[in-house]
């Protein structure tokens, strides 16, 4: 739910990083956190297990700058990727303005990608959203690993509607900001439509 506050001249939007377990959603946020000036972002809140698996969500507010006198603030969330945390994933999609699907490019994770993407579509529908009409970016992560599926094959399988596809290596930061930029642009463009 976009929230525009005329008094503080702020606009707040919610972006959710979705994808299968261990695909690199938290790593995306961690890279953004590490590469952004402290005055532009808040704390990175991570509700994780003792083994650093996301239990509920990660959260980070990020201020991108000013448009037409309004500060634009993006609230970035990740969902827990593991299959059995579905109830949590549904909750985190509430009020979402844009989604990034982080796919794991490794051959052995293809089934998990497909399952997670179906799960995203289903959970969005449950909240009254339609993936086909909302700001959405597909990130193909882990492009540095040896056993990866070619980009074209991954895109053919996972791309839903001609959404931007970004190749990434989140652990080194490659493609992380391109992904964020692609989804943020779509969210702001939606605002223009009113």
């Amino acid at each position: 739910m976009t929230f525009i506050n005329y008094a503080s001249r702020e606009i707040n939007c919610k972006i959710v990083y979705y994808g299968p377990g261990l695909c690199g959603k938290t790593t995306n946020l961690q890279h953004i956190f590490d590469s952004t000036a402290p005055q532009s972002r808040g704390k990175l809140i991570s509700l994780a297990t003792e083994t650093d698996r996301t239990l509920f969500f990660d959260f980070m507010p990020l201020e991108l700058g000013t448009v037409r006198g309004f500060k634009t603030r993006f609230h970035l969330y990740t969902v827990p990727g593991q299959v059995f945390y579905d109830a949590s994933r549904k909750l985190i999609l509430k009020g979402v303005d844009g989604v990034v699907f982080v796919a794991d490019s490794q051959e052995e994770r293809m089934d998990a990608n497909v399952e997670s993407l179906h799960n995203l579509e289903e959970n969005l529908r449950a909240q009254g959203y339609d993936l086909m009409t909302m700001p959405y970016v597909l990130q193909l992560n882990k492009r540095d690993l040896p056993n990866i599926i070619p980009t074209e094959d991954l895109a053919a399988e996972l791309q839903r509607k001609g959404e931007p596809v970004v190749e990434a290596v989140a652990s080194s930061g490659t493609g992380v900001f391109d992904t964020l930029k692609a989804v943020a642009k779509q969210v702001l463009t939606e605002l223009r439509k009113g």
Partner: protein, 157 residues
């Protein structure tokens, strides 16, 4: 259906702040927040100081969402109030439609008083917010209607 965007005009914002100020005083609370169910802080009032209100708002929404999920699993619609009592500081959260009213208080107040005052102010807040939501859905004068691709691009340069 997804919620419509909320456009909070300056006058409405000050009205909300005024209500929160009264609630804070009547409940002898430290801080009072109004938060969207999606985790966005709408307004806060009180001894905010170095408190990370953005994170607190997000976690409060997560908390309410999780307990709401539990409620549904046992056949309840939701749990309309939540309270967390610490050694010195405590939090009371009250669900008002798509909003959360969160009160942070210490030994200067009590859970009973905070619950009572929160309930008393809930109706007023709900009515105000209904008017805001209605105005938001009819408001065609979005400040972003005229933004250009260059405006958007400039955020990333």
């Amino acid at each position: 259906m997804p919620d419509t965007p909320i456009l909070l005009r300056e006058q409405q914002y000050h009205q909300i702040k005024a209500v929160l100020t009264r609630l804070r005083k009547d409940a002898s609370a430290k801080v009072v927040f109004l938060v969207g169910k999606d985790g966005q802080e709408i307004a806060s009032q009180g001894e905010v100081g170095s408190l990370d209100t953005t994170s607190l708002a997000s976690l409060a929404a997560g908390n309410v969402a999780a307990t709401g999920g539990m409620a549904q699993l046992i056949g309840e619609k939701e749990f309309p109030t939540l309270s967390h009592e610490g050694e010195r500081e405590s939090i009371h959260i009250c669900v008002i439609g798509r909003l959360l009213l969160m009160v942070v208080f210490d030994e200067r107040s009590s859970l009973g008083l905070v619950k009572l005052r929160s309930r008393q102010f809930s109706h007023q807040i709900a009515t105000m917010f209904e008017a805001i939501a209605e105005a938001s859905s009819e408001d065609l004068d979005s400040p972003f209607a005229g933004i250009t691709d260059e405006d958007i691009e400039s955020l990333f340069s």
